[in-house]
């Protein structure tokens, strides 16, 4: 089976949860052939893979959003655009009754190779002007016009790319990756499988609300646009897999057909963690650790403040931040200076390390992310029988507290996002109660071994792939 796996801003350029997931998926299906379609942000990343590519990956297509910016176009070109094209494109701009299949075919039928040139054509200007007059007439036209162009440039550029042939188009996000998968599915009449780790349109929405490069009244246009991209995937995919229940509910809320949704948890091979080095008996410290990339979304600063709180009460606490520090050097600097300002001792940034060398020595693990899907870090920690303190994001609560089906009890404590005092309190609680730590560690281990195993994860995808291909042929 040829599977076209589409990633956006993750594998193989970025280390992280989604990338590890992709890496594990491909590695565990030697019987299938994978074609990677990777959408990256910067062309400078081309060919810079941070993972060893598996042998069953037969082709890697790379496309970078910034390479579209280099395209030069002449203005004044004419295109054959009929009333139907106009209607389909302007419906898309308005976000109304879009038949994506029709839209893809329409764009490819216009037959332009150079998107800039098309955007600089009279035909396209007329469409934008018409949509503006009907829907956005109160807005400054110049800004609307430039916004629309910069918004659609990457999208249209993706729409004119060659899509590799495959039996299944499997995208790991909605967004641009979802567009490619939808397009492949439409062009070659093959199933589109979507696995959504986070909720793409929600993540973009948060970004845009915070962004200062978008003016207030344009924010809605951008948010609508990313919702549109998201909905394209929900419309075109025949199965939408989420990692946990909460996300499944959100997907349904924002427009995904309930029938399409299903859950496949992340999985982990518990046995791999059986023999890791344990804490030495003469180690008088209480070791608190975080398996984490030092980036803002993980909210390392709150973590440091929380530890400062802990340190005031537990003098023999020690804190390990285990993960790459080079992704956002500026943020790392800020974290360092926060450590200096708070004058907390015993905070150790390990940088990129082999987690297995450290995990066993930990007494407590923490995770303070602002946003998460289903963090692999928690699965790893639980597999090592470590209790957790996490913020209430993604599936953290489900992982630590369990859901209706399991009765393994608490595997840690869930606290509100960015509340360093609550985080600190929870950590202190675990610090002073060794019995509780052990109980929670055991609970977590049971849960992971029974619900989140690697084999289950692989097995479910295997069945899903086969079922999709079969159903599609019928």
């Amino acid at each position: 089976m040829r599977i076209c796996l589409i990633t956006e801003g993750s594998y193989p350029y970025v280390i992280g949860g989604v990338s590890s997931w992709v890496n594990a998926l491909i590695g565990n299906f030697p019987q299938h052939e994978f074609i990677l379609y990777c959408i990256g942000a910067k062309e400078a990343d081309r060919g810079k893979y941070l993972y060893d590519i598996h042998d069953n990956t037969t082709e890697i297509r790379e496309i970078f959003l910034d390479e579209f910016l280099k395209e030069k176009g002449k203005y004044g070109k004419r295109y054959k655009i009929n009333a139907m094209h106009t209607k389909i494109i302007s419906d898309m701009l308005c976000g109304e009754n879009i038949d994506w299949h029709e839209f893809f075919i329409c764009i490819r039928n216009i037959g332009f190779k150079n998107v800039s040139e098309f955007f600089m054509s009279k035909s396209f200007f007329d469409i934008i002007k018409q949509v503006y007059d009907n829907k956005y007439a109160h807005m400054p036209f110049t800004e609307y016009f430039w916004t629309i162009r910069s918004m659609l440039l990457p999208l249209f550029n993706l729409l004119v790319q060659d899509i590799p042939k495959a039996d299944i188009y499997h995208s790991v996000a909605t967004g641009y990756a979802g567009i490619i998968a939808s397009l492949g599915s439409a062009l070659y009449n093959k199933p589109f499988l979507l696995t959504e780790h986070g909720i793409y349109s929600r993540e973009r929405e948060e970004e845009i609300i915070k962004a200062d490069w978008v003016k207030g009244y344009l924010k809605d246009i951008w948010i609508d646009f990313f919702n549109l991209l998201g909905n394209c995937s929900y419309d075109c995919a025949c199965k939408v897999v989420s990692l946990f229940e909460k996300n499944r509910q959100i997907e349904i809320d924002i427009g995904c057909d309930k029938e399409k949704t299903m859950i496949i948890h992340n999985g982990i091979d518990v046995n791999k963690y059986k023999d890791i080095t344990q804490k030495q008996p003469d180690d008088e410290y209480i070791n608190i650790g975080a398996i984490i990339r030092v980036v803002p979304i993980k909210d390392i600063k709150t973590m440091i403040e929380a530890f400062s709180y802990v340190k005031r009460q537990i003098s023999n606490a020690r804190f390990y931040i285990m993960g790459p520090i080079d992704e956002d050097p500026e943020y790392y600097e800020e974290c360092q200076s926060l450590v200096d300002v708070l004058e907390v001792e015993n905070i150790i940034f390990t940088g990129r390390v082999n987690i297995k060398d450290y995990l066993g020595k930990m007494d407590i693990l923490v995770l303070t992310s602002i946003s998460e899907g289903q963090p692999l870090a928690i699965l790893e920690g639980l597999a090592c029988k470590k209790p957790f303190v996490t913020t209430n994001v993604g599936s953290c609560k489900e992982l630590l507290y369990g859901n209706d089906e399991d009765s393994y009890g608490l595997a840690g404590l869930v606290v509100p996002v960015m509340d360093y005092e609550e985080i600190g309190k929870a950590v202190v609680k675990l610090c002073i109660n060794e019995e509780l730590r052990e109980q929670m560690g055991q609970n977590g281990y049971e849960r992971v071994s029974n619900f989140y195993t690697h084999d289950m994860f692989i097995d479910q995808y295997d069945k899903l792939y086969n079922r999709l291909v079969e159903e599609w042929q019928e």
Binding site: L69, K70, E71, K72, G73, Y75, G76, V115, S116, F119, M120, S121, K122, F124, F125, D126, K129, Y132, D133, A137, H138, M139, P140, F141, T142, E143, F145, R149, S150, L153
Partner: protein, 482 residues
């Protein structure tokens, strides 16, 4: 720096005939002063040569020594004039005044090198005595500088300075000629040539002093302006081929049976050239009207439209401003055509009556009539082309000029073949053609002006690159620009 538009508007805001008259008088001086003065100068020299009864061949030598520098200096400077106008007005806009003086020095140096080499080549093959070669060569170089200076002065709209410069210069010419003749006892030919050199030297010096002083600072980036050649190559094309088109038909007639050769150096077609000279004078009023109208009523509408676009007006406001601008523009163009057409007709009639008194007769007079109509069309074409450039339609302007230039060359050739009756028709038809194409282009362009305004910009702005950008980079290690 009050621009001419501002000054003119003040003038025209007063009602009443007397004020209007004063206003037009002032505008005329300001816009066509130098041309009128140069014309007077040439007429004066002609009369003077008649009074002192200079032999025919000497007269022609003097005419050649003056006309050739005038014509060819204009052609040479036309290469840079539009690009440099653009560059200077951008610098003014960005308030980077220190670069203006530097570019002034740079463009003069470059033009003098080009002109110097070509002028040298021209006189090298001439059998004239060296003392008849040096003065026109100097005059040629002075005029190259002068035309470039007028570009600078009109870029910051100080037309009065130009007029004054010319006025003093011409006075000096007359005085110098008198001194050469009566005190130094030189011959008439030398006196006139030296007088011209000295007079224009004074003009050029005065204006140089003025420009340098005005911006005070002199940066080091003399040749940075050539970067504009990459982006605005079409402006070079437009202004060069327009100027060449203006004189092209003369050059062809010089080689026809009307041609006369003086000392194997200067070639003319006096019968044709004289007609051209007077025909061009008939359209001077149009220049005045154009400058006044464009600078006053149209420019305000134009600015309104573009400022709504840059300051985020909504679609409705932009549409209204656009319609108003287009309405005013066509109204002004129609007015211009009507008034100038009437003036041209009047001039043709008056020319028929009075030109014979200054020695224009027969064939020349017939050519004058048809060339007057031709000049009318040619100038209208030119004005519309300037409007196209206002709207950044360089492609359209280049198209118009191409048709005009090629048409002029081909049709003039044809008219020479067809014989005397058709002399002048080449220029006339080429001009009418150019005019018609210009109007069509402007109409089409204005119909889609919103589209052109928005979509001529690249989807993503990017650094300009080209040969001249790279040269500038090497010269100045400049990586901060644009």
């Amino acid at each position: 720096m009050a621009g001419i538009g501002f000054q003119l508007k003040k003038l025209f805001s007063d009602k009443g005939y007397l004020y209007k008259l004063r206003a037009y008088f002032f505008s005329t001086i300001v816009t066509t002063g130098p041309i009128i003065m140069c014309t007077c100068l040439i007429v004066f020299i002609q009369l003077f040569m008649n009074v002192v009864k200079l032999p025919y061949i000497q007269k022609q030598l003097i005419i050649g020594s003056i006309v050739y520098p005038f014509v060819f200096s204009q052609i040479i400077t036309s290469v840079f004039s539009m690009v440099i106008t653009r560059y200077v007005s951008d610098l003014l806009y960005k308030k980077e005044y220190n670069k203006i003086n530097a570019s002034f020095m740079g463009v003069i140096t470059l033009s003098l090198i080009i002109g110097g080499v070509l002028g040298f080549a021209f006189y090298a093959r001439s059998p004239l005595h060296i003392r008849y070669k040096i003065p026109p060569y100097i005059l040629f170089m002075e005029l190259i500088i002068l035309w470039l200076q007028t570009v600078y002065l009109s870029a910051f709209r100080d037309y009065m300075r130009i007029v004054k410069g010319f006025l003093y210069g011409i006075l000096i010419i007359v005085i110098t000629i008198y001194i050469c003749l009566s005190v130094l006892q030189l011959d008439v030919t030398m006196s006139i040539l030296i007088g011209m050199d000295v007079g224009f030297f004074v003009i050029v010096s005065m204006l140089t002093y003025y420009i340098i002083k005005y911006f005070n600072k002199l940066g080091k980036d003399y040749f940075v302006f050539i970067k504009y050649i990459d982006k605005y190559a079409s402006l070079i094309y437009i202004s060069f081929f327009y100027t060449l088109g203006i004189y092209g038909h003369n050059f062809l007639f010089w080689r026809s049976n009307l041609g006369v050769t003086i000392f194997e150096t200067y070639v003319f077609a006096p019968v044709y050239d004289v007609a051209v000279f007077y025909a061009f004078l008939t359209v001077l009023p149009a220049t005045v009207i154009f400058v006044v109208n464009v600078e006053t009523s149209f420019y305000d509408r134009y600015k309104e439209y573009y400022s709504l676009i840059t300051t985020n007006g909504n679609g409705m406001k932009i549409s209204k401003a656009r319609d108003k601008m287009i309405y005013v523009l066509w109204q002004e163009i129609r007015k211009l055509i009507e008034i100038q057409f009437f003036i041209s007709l009047l001039c043709m009639i008056l020319g028929n009556i009075f030109l014979p008194y200054v020695g224009v007769t027969g064939l020349s007079l017939n050519i004058f009539i048809i060339l007057s109509l031709g000049s009318f069309c040619c100038f209208m074409m030119f004005f519309i082309m300037l409007i196209l450039l206002y709207f950044e339609d360089r492609k359209g302007a280049a198209m118009v000029i191409s048709f005009f230039f090629i048409g002029n060359i081909l049709l003039t050739q044809v008219s020479i073949r067809l014989g005397e009756v058709y002399y002048g028709f080449g220029f006339f038809i080429a001009s009418i053609l150019g005019f018609a194409i210009a109007v069509t282009r402007l109409t089409n362009y204005l119909n889609e002006i919103d589209y052109h305004t928005f979509c001529s910009q690249p989807v993503i702005a990017r650094e300009n690159s080209g040969v001249f950008h790279r040269i500038v980079k090497v010269l100045y290690k400049d990586d901060t620009e644009e």
